[in-house]
Symmetry: C2
Subunit: 231 residues, 2 copies
């Protein structure tokens, strides 16, 4: 986590100088400080490239708008071949959002599945969502800039929701382990509600200027739902 935060602080703060030409040098430098002692050069370069691509995409999209930016342009900006771009992301949109498999395979997940930490379903879901929101795969600020841009591009919002939808399977598995076949909380409602709470929390966090943590909004959102739906 710290790795990403540092990395992003270094290379993402502002477009630096490199407006033109290959930014390979910058990117490589951006990844100089790695966390877990011995991370191979290979791995560092990979991360650096990935972040360079995301940053390049953000820069161009912020300036020209999503549809006006071609993948070729992004690649030129980042100094890689078009083909390589698609080795990193499945689509142009994914690059804006920095989409990557979210690491839910934590002890947090395990704890939740086995009935912890409190034993109360809602409270534990809250913990789970909070935990997920606090450990993004790409670093807070890059994530935030992705959302910033997504807020103005409906298609991106859709992609993001679709991406969340995909993790529904994972969540369902977790819930099944925990709930067994307890019919009092149908899976479809629980999973979908979790997703929507998460989504709304992130959106509010972004709307508030990204201050603090997205997780801070979770409680407020739940409270609002409760108020609306109360008998």
């Amino acid at each position: 986590m710290k790795i990403l935060d540092e990395g992003s602080a270094a290379s993402a703060a502002e477009p630096s100088g490199a407006q033109r030409g290959p930014a390979t040098a910058d990117a490589a430098e951006g990844a100089r400080a790695e966390g877990p002692a011995a991370v191979g050069l290979r791995e560092r370069k990979k991360r650096a490239r990935r972040e360079a691509l995301i940053d390049a995409t953000h820069r161009l999209v912020a300036r020209d708008g999503l549809d006006a930016v071609t993948v070729d342009a992004i690649c030129e900006e980042a100094g890689v071949s078009t083909r390589t771009f698609f080795n990193y992301f499945d689509s142009k949109d994914d690059a804006v959002l920095g989409h990557a498999p979210w690491p839910l395979t934590d002890e947090a997940a395990e704890t939740f599945a086995t009935g912890g930490p409190t034993g109360d379903l809602l409270a534990d879901l809250r913990v789970l969502v909070t935990h997920v929101l606090e450990t993004p795969p790409t670093g807070h600020d890059r994530m935030r800039r992705g959302f910033e841009l997504a807020a103005h591009e409906p298609r991106l919002l859709a992609k993001h929701i679709a991406w969340m939808e995909r993790s529904k399977g994972e969540l369902t598995a977790l819930l099944t382990r925990r709930l067994g076949d307890d019919p009092s909380h149908p899976l479809d409602v629980v999973t979908t509600l979790v997703l929507f709470v998460t989504h709304t929390a992130v959106m509010r966090w972004d709307a508030n200027g990204g201050e603090g943590d997205a997780a801070d909004q979770v409680d407020a959102v739940i409270a609002d739902i409760r108020a609306l739906v109360a008998p």
Copy 2:
């Protein structure tokens, strides 16, 4: 509404015989019965083509899967030019889902905006959602087949959610008129929750084999949310 139901019953039940060649004749016939006495030929043809395209898409996608079906194939099946396809739909995906602007500009919307019918927010939302679910723009069965296919194609589900997201603006406008700036029910939560309830209700309805009306599920979903989120 009855128009569409009749039309779909006639031409959509099964692929009939026309597996090959222009289905223009079939399509034209499918639209023979128009509701509001005098609907111009132009309008009838338009609807017929639209439905023919949706049906052709459904047929091919059901057989070969979304990605294996090209727009050209759909057009050949339906007997129109490729260019025409895109006069009717913005994308291949939209054709599967039969997406069209949803007519929310009813008295129902007006009633809701002005505080009716009951005066209780939740109850009135329920009425609104129910009303919307009972008057689909393309006919129940076509809608159902769209969902059927969407359930197996993640991308389609995403598109559908995105499409709902788009109507959020409309809903927000409605809510603003009704609520003014009542801070006790933040707009983002209300709109998102409405979408969520609608979506889940439709999914359940589909999972139950499409018996009855999607609206029937709305109450159950709300009850489940309440149970989950209760203090």
